[in-house]
């Protein structure tokens, strides 16, 4: 038995959103008389932090403290339509819709404040701490709560806004197949170090080093948690998980957690992540969001690492010990590929 070390690398571009007859999301924003704002969506937070990020985005666009914003989502009875939480589109599409709705609501709030202060609404600004004041004259001030209260109890205005963000469908050019399915791309590069046992075919993942470019990281801790968890799932996808071990046949497929192979807490791999921020011009405050890209670079990097370690090119996922051993046998033994500069 020999353990062969291998290193694999992959770099990917990953699209934000998709092209299926148009890609819209909507948001509604309204204030209560106490100056607290409600953002109403039907977008689903699967755990990555959609509610936190839309709350931050709304607070920033309204110019009020994040504590004064509530997000009510995941119910299509009460929230406007959202295409869904998939295709890495949540932060980008929903965030843009929230900005549109919050901007409209902010306009009404400033109109109401202007009427109370007897000034022009264009002369007003918010301080992000719950105050609206005349530019250059902070003493001419009213709280956002007072402005929203006056709008609803004196002036007869609803402090509300509607927002939709739509990427229209992109027709496919029948000659070339060309289309523009997405609005922007996120990027990632990942290096994985492994050891492959040439007797059992087992892969031991030693270390992962990655760089993810996600636009602006609107909530850095949420970005980090999503990258850690997503890359771990990518490792699992690369080496363990499948519902069709003899794809496309369903034979011998797992039917429960007893048979579905996946790594546990003992298989955690050290993962060193660098987050690169290049704010995207069409994204909400530049944030594209990590999305599915968290997991994706791990798979090709792992396949390359296995090839580097034992010279077996596995082109079907997951890269199981059985496939590696069959490859080693077909090659007449392990063929470590070494690394440039290595002898």
């Amino acid at each position: 038995m020999t353990m062969h070390s291998g290193r694999g690398f992959a770099a990917i571009n990953y699209p934000i959103g998709m092209n299926l007859g148009g890609d819209p999301s909507q948001a509604l924003v309204h204030s209560n008389p106490d100056g607290k704002f409600m953002v109403t969506l039907s977008s689903i937070d699967l755990g990555q932090g959609m509610k936190s990020v839309t709350r931050q985005i709304a607070a920033e666009a309204l110019g009020i403290p994040v504590e004064d914003v509530y997000v009510d989502t995941a119910d299509s009875d009460t929230g406007p339509h959202c295409m869904g939480s998939f295709a890495s589109r949540g932060t980008h599409r929903v965030g843009n819709a929230v900005i549109a709705a919050a901007t409209e609501a902010r306009g009404v709030m400033l109109d109401a404040a202007a009427e109370e202060l007897e000034v022009n609404p264009e002369d007003l600004e918010t301080d992000g701490r719950g105050n609206i004041h005349v530019k250059g004259a902070p003493s001419r001030s009213i709280t956002s709560a007072e402005a929203c209260g006056a709008a609803q109890f004196k002036q007869g205005k609803t402090v509300s806004g509607r927002g939709i963000f739509l990427i229209p469908t992109s027709d496919v050019n029948p000659e070339t197949g060309e289309m523009t399915p997405v609005s922007c791309f996120a990027h990632a590069a990942l290096v994985v170090d492994i050891e492959v046992d040439d007797e059992t075919g087992e892969v031991l993942v030693k270390d992962m080093q990655s760089a993810y470019e996600v636009g602006r990281a609107l909530n850095p801790k949420l970005v980090e948690q999503q990258l850690i968890g997503g890359a771990w799932m990518g490792m699992s996808h690369a080496l363990y998980e499948t519902t069709e071990p003899h794809y496309p046949e369903r034979d011998n497929g797992p039917v429960d957690f007893n048979e579905y192979l996946m790594p546990g807490p003992g298989n955690v791999v050290p993962h060193h992540i660098s987050v690169l921020e290049r704010p995207a011009p069409d994204a909400p405050f530049g944030g594209k969001g990590p999305g599915e890209m968290c997991a994706n670079p791990v798979l090709p990097a792992m396949a390359n690492a296995v090839y580097n370690a034992v010279g077996v090119r596995v082109d079907e996922l997951p890269i199981t010990p059985e496939k590696i051993l069959r490859g080693i046998k077909a090659n007449g033994g392990a063929r470590p590929q070494g690394r440039p500069g290595q002898h």
Partner: protein
Amino acid sequence: MSKVPVQLTLNGSDRSVFVDPGQNLLDVLRRSLGDLTPKYGCGQGTCGCCTVMIDGETRLSCLTLAESVDGCSVETVAGIGEGAQLHELQTAFMEHFAAQCGFCTTGMLMSAKHLLDNNPSPTRDDVVEAISGNICRCTGYEPIINAILDVAARRGSGRHTS
């Protein structure tokens, strides 16, 4: 079939309930006693989402016959904090972003609490062993392990300074 009376202590409160013969504890906790913190994941004892403590030991409530806890003390996440005051494990899970979808979290917390109740200064391997029966599909486990180790470290340093 006639119902069976069961008396238990749930998070310190005496509760009486009639259960069906063969009914599992998870079902009774959620449907009859209104404690929705233990989750129904797989129903066959492999995911750990339904983990509770019975007389101080972690048990999978989906595999526990409700009749068998007559006279027992059952603890769930609903009872680990003090009123509105979160348990330090809950706080650490928040600080370490150890939950994403949250479905595994209540089971994880019970396994973690059991560990720390019995082993105040666990190693990383002890933590891994303690949560190895709880499946998490979002976090990659690392933040959960770190949160539990953090609570142990804070308790340890608290003892040293006091």
